[in-house]
């Protein structure tokens, strides 16, 4: 029944800049679900307005970064009269603790939601350790 709950607005969070950016534009942090199975880590990010051609995924030094750009051409000729949310690129990084097989990362985009499957490297999978009797 959890699904019947009334949806609440989640305020968009801005990306913490860390250093001052050279451009004054704002970027947003997509909402994320992260879950873990034996074989893979799955990261799901909500990036409404981003299509599959405008996504950039990278892993460097154990940090996964996902960026999504908005195609502003769609807003051409539109003059805002009322707004409840702002629009801008999305960016978010996660430190990945498991060893990931980078060659096998796959991503799927649907309705503004990207699902990343990060398969664990062989040596990172949990192993059952047998206890021997002496």
């Amino acid at each position: 029944m959890a699904d019947q709950q009334e949806l609440q607005v989640q305020q968009k969070r801005e990306v913490d800049k860390g250093q001052e950016a050279t451009t004054p534009t704002r970027a947003f942090m997509p909402n994320a679900d992260i879950f873990d199975t034996e074989d893979a880590l799955t990261v799901v990010l909500e990036m409404p307005g981003v299509d599959r051609d405008n996504i950039n995924i990278s892993i460097e030094n154990g940090v996964l970064t996902v960026e999504g750009k908005i195609n502003f051409a769609k807003y051409e000729g539109l003059q805002p009269v009322y707004s409840e949310y702002n629009v801008g690129p999305y960016r978010r990084s996660f430190r990945i603790s498991s060893r990931i097989d980078q060659d096998k990362i796959s991503a799927e985009m649907r309705d503004g939601v990207i699902t990343l499957m990060l398969p664990k490297a062989e040596e990172a999978k949990p192993r059952r350790i047998e206890v021997r009797t002496a």
Binding site: A2, P48, Y82, N86
Partner: protein, 141 residues
């Protein structure tokens, strides 16, 4: 605001500022009973007509129910999130549930000609202004 493409950052900045300036503007006046409710809506003017762009990531098109009558538009539906079995959740920020929001547009519209498109998690409603509501130039003889 006119969008140019000479400098994409300047364009984005100008656009973000324009949205900021219209944040919860009184354009909808007191006519909306559900301000601040889900889903969030931006409204734009395109010539005489209106375009409402609604952020609704991860909703199945079949689960969206849009109705229009006179100058009200109702956006209802549900968003479901399924997790595979036997997973350990590290982070859970996405929300699921039902929504039902009614917008009352402060001008006369043509409800029969509203068009809706759902792409990349954005619902766009193209709302034509009623012919009789359009401003007319009055010729002085």
């Amino acid at each position: 605001m006119v969008m140019g493409y000479a400098d994409p950052f300047e364009t984005l900045f100008a656009f973000q500022r324009a949205l900021e300036n219209r944040l919860s503007s009184d354009w909808l006046g007191t006519t909306t009973a559900a301000m601040g409710a889900y889903p969030p809506v931006n409204v734009f003017q395109q010539g005489d007509d209106l375009v409402a762009i609604v952020e609704l990531p991860g909703v199945n098109k079949e689960d969206l129910n849009i109705q229009a009558k006179e100058n009200t538009i109702r956006i209802a539906g549900q968003k479901t999130i399924e997790y595979p079995e036997n997973v350990s959740l590290h982070r859970r920020e996405r929300l699921s549930g039902v929504f039902d929001r009614t917008l009352v547009v402060p001008m006369q519209i043509d409800p029969d000609r509203i068009k809706a498109e759902y792409n990349d998690g954005l619902l766009a409603l193209f709302i034509p202004r009623a012919e009789k509501d359009k401003p007319r130039t009055i010729e002085v003889r």
